[in-house]
Amino acid sequence: MKEKRSHSFTISRRAFLKGSAATAVALSAGILDFESWAREFKTLPVTRIPTICGGCGNRCALVVSVKGGRVWKIEGNPEANGNRGAVCPRGHGYLHDMYNPRRITGPLKRVNGRFEPLSWEQAFKEIAQKINILLLDNGPETIFWVNYPQVNHEYALRFMHAMRSPHYFSHGSTCYTARDAGWNFTTGNLPSSDLANTRFAMIIGRNPAGGINLGQMKDIVRSRDGGMKLVVVDPRHSETAILADEWLPVRPGTDLALLLGLMHVLITEQLYDADFVSRHTVGFEALRDGVVSYSPRWAEGICDIPAETIRRLAREMAAAKPRALIHRGYHGAFGAQYLNSFQTARALAIVNTLLGNINRTGGTYFAKSADLGPLQPVHPVPGGPLVPKQDGTGIPGRYPLGAYGDGITHAIPELALRGKLKCGFVYHNNPLRTNPNPERVIAGYKKLELLVVLDPVMSETAAIADYVLPVSYYPEADEAVDNKHYGKQAQVSIQQQAIEPLFDTRSGFSIIHGLAQRLGVGRYFNFTIEEANRLRLKPLGVSLEDLKRRGVVPVGDHWEEGFEKLDTPSGKIELYSKTLDKLGYAPIPRWEAPLVSPDEGDDTSFRLIHGKQAIHTHSMTANNAYLMGISENYGMMRLWINTRRASKLGIGDGDLVQLTSLIGTGNVRVRLTEGLHPSCVWLPSGYGIFSKHLTTAYHRGLSYNDFLPTFFDPAVGHAMASEVIVSVRKVQDSD
């Protein structure tokens, strides 16, 4: 049915005028005024191009709609494991960054404290000259690369290996390395949680509705509709807790006590899967003896969850086993949070084991991930590093449980200050804002002889760089094929160009490629992205053309239930770990208190915890007017504080308070809530931008990193990001 007065697509005059890029596109298409441009826009054909999102690390598969040379909107690719047709708010909002007038439009070089433009060729030449001299004087291992993992991170690693440096870093030590280590020392690898088929799910600290994961949320909602019980353990009534049957506000930093209590009940009441445990684990007797004293009553005294609740939940999960699980976790409660995070992750893996759910339907399973093909023998393998990483990951006596592949990213400033690192690249990462203790981070990064930042905008880190190389946004560039969409069946996916770059920017791959050529390691990058992609797809039996047409393609066999030899020294699940014993760490999980705790005799003393909101990715999206508009409209930058604790301090909803820790101080408005454990205050992450170039976000809200000292957990080397006590006091707006 069509009507005469049918409302049609709105094109605002401002949308036409804003941003020289859009106007330039319109003009280049021969369209001169708004009326004709709008008329033309309505009737223009829409081109739909499958690709993957660059808005966070999930790399969701999208279909980008292009109209009149401009990206109009995105939709989720329904075939993709990771997002199954959905798109999150960041994904939609992130599109506008591409049209942001604050974008960097070409390579920049710092000259006498100011940035000046230069050509790509000149930038590559100068950077290469400086690096060659620095490495000649200091050794090849003094160069580093740090990135938030992207589709092309394997090429970044290859680049460092070609340079013979071990120093490739991810952001892991500020995010998830304790969780990974806990699982690795128990089951050999990090598994996934089969939320789609489980009957009982407990989620500890993880908030997939905020630190958003679309596929997991789809599974949770559908399983819940089918009768799954959901229990959320979190000091804060998280957005995932909204969906839960029960919310258990645990005292922050004591999740380990809850897990020990659950183990105690599962074992003493003989509720565990004895057959599974006897066949597939080592060290059960030691575990049984070790948890004898961790009664639910004991756990209640530590973690504030009633003993009866712990006992009941252990029985409920046992009744549902093996289709019962505790979510594998992420940053949340034990990714890189507390002194006890490694043992918390171990304990969590062990409770899953006692439920007999490892690699079982509805339990914890090793997802299928696409095995991308090698570049050799067509292209040679770089020689690789000559020395181990200087951060001490994997080295006995230093951080033996640390993740060598990730490195300890927040050690880069320390290594720079000690002269171990002289030059480096920061790509799709902003350590000045996302690492703890910014003063120390700034001092470290400024100590470098050469800092090159690959970023589309002038982030805090870019603002102190010697060179800034502007990276294209994902719709502007072809990139490496990707295997991020793992699951019950592996999928391969691809980022492909949807529009011509709006400015003189390049893809991450192309920048790595260009640098390699000038640095004398071009023989390891003697291929185009297309040639490399074809080689990597070859063993999967997928053509590049087919992949580009579909965006994601399933490959390989479907996952099947069943226990196989694990990547642990015993090949089994290690309830008791000889390796840990030899290294001097508790071989079975035992109670360890957090490093610091609030002073119970001081009404102003709180633990500062933090978490993500669905609308923001790290510090990357705070400057986005669409997303920051939501933060502003809904008061989402506020600090959460328990109503009862606040009233003792005379603090009302919306009042301004001052937070003070050992290293920092800052003012922020509060949200009074009943949905928070009284011992802590909660700060959303992603705010507190201090790059004055990012005008929308500048000095709005606070970052927990401003209060967090530089810590290295003594086993894993992670940041212990919630080991920080703050005092809270009301201040007047004029203070």
Binding site: R5, T10, W72, K73, G76, C88, P89, H92, G210, P249
Partner: protein, 181 residues
């Protein structure tokens, strides 16, 4: 004759705001203009707490007060039930904004009033509104309430007792039905 309607399942919304930004893109809105809103509520006392997000937008009333007060006829209801604003006839007097009991209308910087359109120009081409497809939790369902075979009609038949409309006492007869647990 189609009669479009929507279900919003309050037991599933976690307040992520994807609907708002998807709608802004679909409809070419600026960052300060939005047709979707969220109302958040917190119930209970620690540790027995519940929170709820209620998505808000034009309710596409069968008896729309905004249409009655419009002096120029810019606000109108189509025969398929979709309530729209003809921006060319709108003089920006904001009577409709005052009359709308749901606060669903906004004034654009150009001076005309706008709001959720149920993405009707796309729906006519066989698409589904952007707020529906983007949602990870399948909070919304959109369809033809006059077609007894449609998903939405079957849903209404099955869950009738759990569905309510906002401010029913005003006799606005919205075409958006909310589901509570």
């Amino acid at each position: 004759m189609a009669r479009y309607g929507m279900i919003i399942d309050l037991t599933k919304c976690v307040g992520c705001h994807a609907c708002r930004v998807a709608c802004q893109n679909q409809n070419g809105l600026s960052d300060t203009e939005a047709f979707n809103f969220l109302e958040e509520r917190e119930y209970g006392t620690f540790p027995d707490v519940h929170r709820e997000f209620q998505p808000m937008q034009c309710q596409h009333c069968d008896n729309p007060p905004c249409v009655r007060v419009c002096p120029t006829g810019a606000s109108y209801k189509r025969s398929d039930g979709v309530v729209l604003v003809n921006e060319k006839e709108c003089i920006g007097c904001k009577y409709c904004m005052a009359a709308c009991p749901y606060g669903a209308r906004i004034i654009m910087k150009e001076g005309y009033v706008a709001k959720c359109t149920f993405c009707v120009s796309f729906v006519e081409d066989g698409e589904v509104p952007a707020c529906v497809t983007t949602c990870m939790n399948d909070v919304r369902m959109f369809g033809d309430l006059d077609d007894p075979g449609s998903d939405i009609s079957r849903y209404v038949a099955r869950h009738r007792n759990r569905l309510h409309r906002l401010k029913e006492e005003l006799n606005t007869r919205p075409r958006i039905y909310y589901r509570k647990a």
